[in-house]
C-alpha cells in the first residue's frame, strides 16, 4: 500500500483506511516487534506494542503528504522505534543518564555494530535454511522458536494434530542442525 493510497482511503473513510492498513501490515509489525521483544517480553507485551504502533500511525501519519512509496518504510521506522523503547522498559534499562550521575562516565554504548551486522547475516542464513526444510516444517519451526507458540497453538493454526506438530518440529530441528554450522550461530 502506498502512502497516497492510504491517504486517499483515509479521506474517503478513516475506518476503512485503518483496517486496510492494519490487515496489510499487521504480520509485518508483529514480526518486527517479536524480533525485539522475544527474549524479554510476553505475548501480551508484544501485542500491546503492536497496537501502540498502529495507534501511532493512525494519529501521526500526515495524510496530506502525497507520498507515493510503500508505507512499509514508514511503518518499519515507527515499529522499530516503539519496539526498542518497549525493550528498554521491559529490561529496565533507562534511556537517559544524568551527566551529574557519578556513574555517568562508565555508561557506554555496549552495541557492537559489527557483531550485529553479523547476526543479521546469520539471521538471513538461518531463515534460508529453515525455509529449505519445506512446508509445513519451516512454518512450525518459525512459529515455535521465533514466535514462541505452543504445539497446540501451531496445530490449531495449521490444522494439524499437536502431537504431529511436536514430532515434525523435533525432526525438523534435527535436520536443521545437520545443515547449519552451529559454531557460526554461537558467535
Amino acid at each position: 500500500m502506498t502512502g497516497s493510497d492510504y491517504s486517499a482511503l483515509c479521506k474517503q473513510s478513516p475506518d476503512k483506511a485503518y483496517k486496510t492498513l492494519f490487515d496489510e501490515y499487521c504480520n509485518y509489525v508483529y514480526a518486527v516487534v517479536t524480533s525485539k521483544l522475544r527474549s524479554c517480553g510476553t505475548r501480551e507485551d508484544i501485542e500491546e506494542c503492536v497496537s501502540d504502533i498502529f495507534a501511532e500511525i493512525y494519529t501521526k501519519y500526515d495524510v496530506d503528504d502525497n507520498y507515493d512509496g510503500d508505507m512499509r518504510g514508514y511503518i518499519a521506522v515507527i515499529a522499530k522505534r516503539r519496539a526498542i523503547r518497549r525493550f528498554h522498559t521491559l529490561t529496565q534499562q533507562g534511556l537517559t543518564v544524568s551527566l551529574d550521575d557519578e556513574n555517568a562516565p562508565e555508561v557506554a554504548d555496549d552495541r557492537d555494530a559489527e557483531a550485529e551486522e553479523k547476526q543479521a547475516m546469520l539471521a538471513r542464513l538461518l531463515l534460508e535454511k529453515v525455509k529449505s526444510l519445506g512446508e509445513p516444517d519451516s512454518s512450525i519451526v518459525i512459529q515455535k522458536y521465533f514466535y514462541n507458540r505452543s504445539s497446540a497453538e501451531i496445530a490449531k493454526l495449521l490444522g494439524m494434530n499437536p502431537a504431529g506438530v511436536r514430532m515434525r518440529c523435533r525432526r525438523a530441528i534435527s535436520r536443521l542442525k545437520t545443515i547449519i554450522d552451529i559454531k557460526d550461530l554461537e558467535m
Binding site: 524480533s35 500491546e48 494519529t59 539471521a123 518459525i142 497453538e153 552451529i182
Partner: protein
C-alpha cells in the same frame, strides 16, 4: 547450544529477513481483530489527550512558524473524523474505552476480572495438585469474534439489542445479544421513557470529555445508546448526542440490561458442579472397590463395586459434555485416556487404579458466583470453595461456547 538459542540470531534480523518471517502466519483472525480494536482505542485516546494541544495549535495556526505543521494537520483531521458522525469509527473509538464496573445493579452480575492474584491455594483438589491452569491457553480465545458493531437488520422482531463494551481494568471486550422477550420489553419501556424526555435533557458541548468508560446498547434499527461515566455520574449519549438523562432512568436501563448474564449464571452453576464431579473422578473420590487388585487388569487396579458411572465411555462422555478436549487433555487426560488411566474396563466391569487415588473434588461454598468477561463466545465465572484447612479460596472457570454447548476450557486458582 539449546534449540531455542539457535534462533537468537533473529533478534538482529534485518528488514528483508523480518519481511520474510512475517509471511509465516502466526495470528489468528481473533488475535488480529483484538489487536486492531486495541489500536483504534489507543488512537482515539491519543487523539483525545492531544485535543487541547491541537486547539492551541489551530489558534496560532501558522505553517511557516510551526515546527511540525504536517503532524498537526494530520491530527486535526483525525479528531474531526472522531467528532463527526462517522458511525463505525465512533463506535470503534468510543466502544474501545468502555467500562462496566460501577453501574448500579449491573455490577452485581457482571464484574471485570482482577488479574492480580494467580497463586495456587491449599485445597486438596486433584486439579490444584496438578498445579495446572488452563487460563493461559484460553485468554487468546476470549475475544469477541463477532466484532464491535452488531446491527440486527432483517430481524423478525421489532427491535433487538446488543450490548458491547470494554473494561479498563481487564481491557477485555464484552459483547452479547439480548434475546429474552421479557427483557426486551423492559428495555423498550425504559427507552421509550428516555426518548420522551431526551429533547429536554440535551447536554452542553464537551460534556463527555471527562468520560471514563461505558458501553454501547445498539439496536436493530441502528440507534446507539452509549452509556458512559462522566465524573461519578453515568451519562447517556444517543447517536452521538449527549443527554443529561435523570439518574433514575439510567439506573432502570442498567437494571434492564443486567439480567442478560443470568443465562450464563445457570450454565456456570452446572459446569461448576460438573468440575467437582470430574475432579472427584480424577482422584477416585467416593469410589467403592474390592480390596484386592485384579492381576488380569494390572497391578493396583481394583474392581469398582459402588460407583456413579458404569463404563469408561460413560465417564468420557460426561467429561466431554462439560469440558473442551484441550482442557481434558491438559488436566484430566489421565482419567480415562492415558496408558495407565484412572479407570479401565475388563470383562464389562469398571476398574479403578487404586495407586492413583488421592483427595480430590471441590467443596463449593454458598457464596454466589460472579460472572465475568461475557462475550457471545465465552465468559468466566468465579466460584468460592472450602479449603482443606477450613478457609475459603476462589477459582475462576473459563467457559466457552463449543458448537452451541457451554463447556469449561480452563480453570485458574485466584
Amino acid at each position: 547450544m539449546k534449540d531455542r538459542e539457535i534462533f537468537g540470531a533473529f533478534e538482529h534480523a534485518d528488514e528483508e529477513t523480518i519481511a520474510k518471517l512475517s509471511e509465516i502466519p502466526v495470528l489468528s483472525d481473533e488475535d488480529k481483530e483484538r489487536i486492531f480494536r486495541e489500536s483504534i482505542r489507543k488512537a482515539d485516546k491519543a487523539g483525545a489527550s492531544e485535543d487541547g494541544a491541537n486547539i492551541i495549535m489551530m489558534e496560532t495556526s501558522n505553517k511557516e512558524n510551526s515546527g511540525t505543521p504536517a503532524a498537526v494537520t494530520a491530527m486535526k483531521r483525525r479528531n474531526r473524523a472522531v467528532m463527526n458522525v462517522a458511525a463505525a469509527c465512533v463506535i470503534l473509538a468510543v466502544g474501545a474505552s468502555m467500562v462496566i464496573n460501577g453501574f448500579g445493579s449491573f455490577d452485581g452480575l457482571i464484574k471485570t476480572s482482577d488479574d492480580s492474584g494467580n497463586t495456587a491455594s491449599d485445597t486438596g483438589s486433584s486439579a490444584e495438585a496438578a498445579n495446572i491452569s488452563g487460563a493461559d491457553s484460553n485468554n487468546s480465545s476470549k475475544s469477541d469474534t463477532s466484532g464491535y458493531y452488531h446491527p440486527y437488520n432483517g430481524s423478525s422482531m421489532a427491535r433487538r439489542y446488543n450490548v458491547s463494551g470494554m473494561s479498563p481494568h481487564s481491557e477485555e471486550y464484552i459483547s452479547y445479544e439480548i434475546t429474552d422477550e421479557e427483557q426486551l420489553e423492559r428495555i423498550d419501556e425504559v427507552l421509550d421513557e428516555i426518548e420522551k424526555i431526551k429533547d429536554e435533557c440535551v447536554a452542553g458541548e464537551n460534556s463527555g470529555s471527562e468520560e471514563t468508560g461505558g458501553f454501547i446498547l445498539s439496536t436493530s434499527d441502528d440507534i446507539k445508546y452509549f452509556i458512559s461515566m462522566v465524573g461519578d455520574q453515568p451519562q447517556l449519549t444517543i447517536n452521538f448526542i449527549d443527554y443529561n438523562i435523570p439518574q433514575e432512568l439510567i439506573d432502570q436501563l442498567m437494571a434492564a440490561i443486567a439480567p442478560t448474564a443470568t443465562g450464563q449464571y445457570a450454565e456456570a452453576m452446572r459446569l461448576r458442579d460438573a468440575l467437582s464431579t470430574i475432579d472427584g473422578l480424577a482422584g477416585g473420590k467416593d469410589a467403592v472397590y474390592e480390596e484386592a487388585s485384579d492381576p488380569n487388569v494390572g497391578e493396583g487396579y481394583a474392581k469398582l463395586t459402588g460407583f456413579g458411572f458404569s463404563s469408561v465411555s460413560e465417564i468420557d462422555s460426561f467429561m466431554r459434555d462439560n469440558m473442551t478436549d484441550d482442557f481434558i487433555n491438559a488436566l484430566y487426560g489421565s482419567v480415562v485416556g492415558t496408558e495407565r488411566p484412572m479407570y479401565t474396563e475388563y470383562e464389562g466391569a469398571l476398574y479403578i487404579d487404586t495407586f492413583a487415588k488421592r483427595d480430590s473434588g471441590f467443596m463449593w461454598t454458598e457464596t454466589e458466583m460472579v460472572i465475568n468477561d461475557v462475550t457471545a463466545a465465552s465468559f468466566s465465572a468465579t466460584a468460592e470453595y472450602s479449603t482443606a484447612e477450613g478457609g475459603t479460596a476462589q477459582l475462576k472457570l473459563y467457559i466457552v461456547n463449543d458448537n452451541g454447548v457451554w463447556k469449561m476450557s480452563g480453570i485458574e486458582f485466584l
